[in-house]
């Protein structure tokens, strides 16, 4: 009770527009990162599942490097390492650094999600499509992708949730999303309790909504023969 009484509600009300602006930037960068990681996941996941030479091996290396290094170091590498690249420095705007780093991370995890999904599609489905005269690409687009994509959907939504949570680390390069909005506000006002409680509630609201979506999607898109 004394916690509720000690909270400065006026302060929170006054700064709600700041938090809202930060949340919008979080959602913007997460949205781009999620869309990009979906595209990377489908393309490289297909290359891995169909064992397309060279691309499959490169994709495997990409997945292992991203999964076994901290995302915060990846962000630093893109933001501060690439501009110092000997011979060919790469300068990106802060916004590009932001979405690129979360997209590369999500793409690696999504490659694994979709590889597993595509590999779970029974070979007889593809054989049936080939027998009907479908080419390789048509078989993938009409059979493997819709069925394997459904199988991969719950785990890929989990990856999207992580992408969204990872945008909070963009604080480290100064991109003004929700967490850095709170952090900057804290260093001006010292209202740490109020600020980080608001931040926590905002993240939980978004993350829990997305988690509920997984359960909804799982129930709706469950393949009839794999139904629980």
């Amino acid at each position: 009770m004394s916690l509720l009484a000690s909270i400065d509600w006026h302060f929170i009300r006054e700064h709600l527009p700041d938090f809202w602006q930060g949340l919008k930037n979080t959602l913007k960068v997460a949205g781009i990162g999620i869309a990009g990681s979906l595209a990377i996941g489908i393309l490289l996941g297909a290359a891995r599942a169909h064992r397309i030479p060279v691309i499959s091996q490169l994709a495997a290396a990409y997945v292992e490097v991203i999964r076994n290094t901290p995302i915060l170091v990846q962000i630093f590498f893109i933001a501060y390492g690439l501009p110092e690249l000997p011979w060919h420095p790469i300068h990106l705007t802060q916004f590009t650094q932001a979405w690129l780093s979360v997209m590369i991370w999500g793409g690696a995890f999504n490659t694994e999600n979709f590889r597993a999904g595509f590999e779970a599609v029974p070979a007889r489905f593809r054989e049936a499509a080939r027998a009907l005269g479908f080419g390789q690409v048509a078989t993938f687009v009409n059979v493997t992708l819709p069925i394997g994509g459904r199988i991969a959907l719950p785990s890929s939504i989990n990856t999207y949730i992580s992408v969204l949570k990872n945008t909070s680390l963009l604080t480290a390069i100064g991109y003004v999303e929700l967490t850095s909005t709170g952090y900057n506000l804290e260093s001006e006002t010292f209202k740490a309790t109020e600020i980080f409680i608001v931040l926590g509630i905002a993240y939980l609201a978004v993350v829990w909504t997305l988690s509920a979506l997984i359960r909804l999607v799982e129930a709706r898109l469950a393949l009839p023969e794999r139904g629980r």
């Binding site: 630093f76 501060y80 740490a192 993240y203």
Partner: protein, 226 residues
């Protein structure tokens, strides 16, 4: 091996390994031990059919799995000292260890719940028939079996905790990433080049060398169990 490095790299590597890497492994050790202990306890308690305790632990798990780790660290390090009854400011190291434990224990609790519930009913009944109480039943019969299933997720947790210690740099812990960052800043002032590409690349390589064997081990343990 140090001999083949350029002049600037020797002291930097020494600083990053002796200060940074050591601190990284120290936080990781605290967080892994804490997460495992708290997580196994909470996960086992979650299997008791008593809704108030279940709901409370479920809330704990969902909150700390849902929050970005950096927000948990900020809550522990910046917001908690202002809360009534606490009024205690943790050192950055302690704050990071507590924050990572809150996150890690939520992961372990969820995995433990699944592992304990995967042990067949007959094991509970047989142990009860032999006269074991709830605690004895779990300590001597259920948890030893559940622990075998828990081993792969615990090894992946170790890899994840080590990676996530880098987030502690954002509340001022001088772990590996922070020592690299300081080295870059110092080189910027004292030499024509900051060597940021080489330093951040080396940090990535270092984490990869630690993490890759652990994720392989987790996959191996998982396959052996099936």
């Amino acid at each position: 091996m140090i001999g083949v490095l350029p002049d600037w790299a020797g002291p930097v590597a020494h600083y990053m390994i002796h200060d940074g890497l050591k601190e990284t492994l120290r936080i990781a050790a605290f967080a892994v031990v804490g997460s495992t202990a708290v997580g196994i306890l909470l996960g086992t308690l979650m299997t008791i059919r008593f809704w108030p305790s279940r709901a409370l632990i479920r809330l704990y798990v969902e909150v700390f799995r849902g929050l970005p780790i950096i927000v948990t660290l900020f809550l522990v390090y910046y917001a908690l000292p202002g809360a009534p009854l606490i009024h205690h400011r943790f050192a950055a190291f302690t704050g990071a260890a507590i924050g990572l434990t809150l996150w890690g224990s939520a992961q372990v609790a969820e995995a433990t719940r699944g592992a304990v519930q995967s042990i067949p009913r007959e094991q509970h009944e047989a142990a009860a028939a032999l006269g074991f109480g709830w605690i004895g039943r779990h300590r001597s019969v259920i948890l030893p079996q559940a622990l075998r299933r828990l081993l792969p997720p615990l090894v992946s947790l170790l890899a994840n905790v080590i990676q996530n210690t880098t987030i502690a740099s954002l509340i001022g812990v001088t772990e590996l990433l922070a020592t690299g960052q300081r080295s870059v800043e110092r080189l910027q002032f004292t030499s024509p080049e900051s060597h940021a590409f080489a330093i951040y690349g080396a940090i990535m390589a270092g984490f990869f060398l630690i993490s890759f064997p652990l994720t392989r081990l987790a996959i191996f343990l998982e396959r052996r169990m099936v």
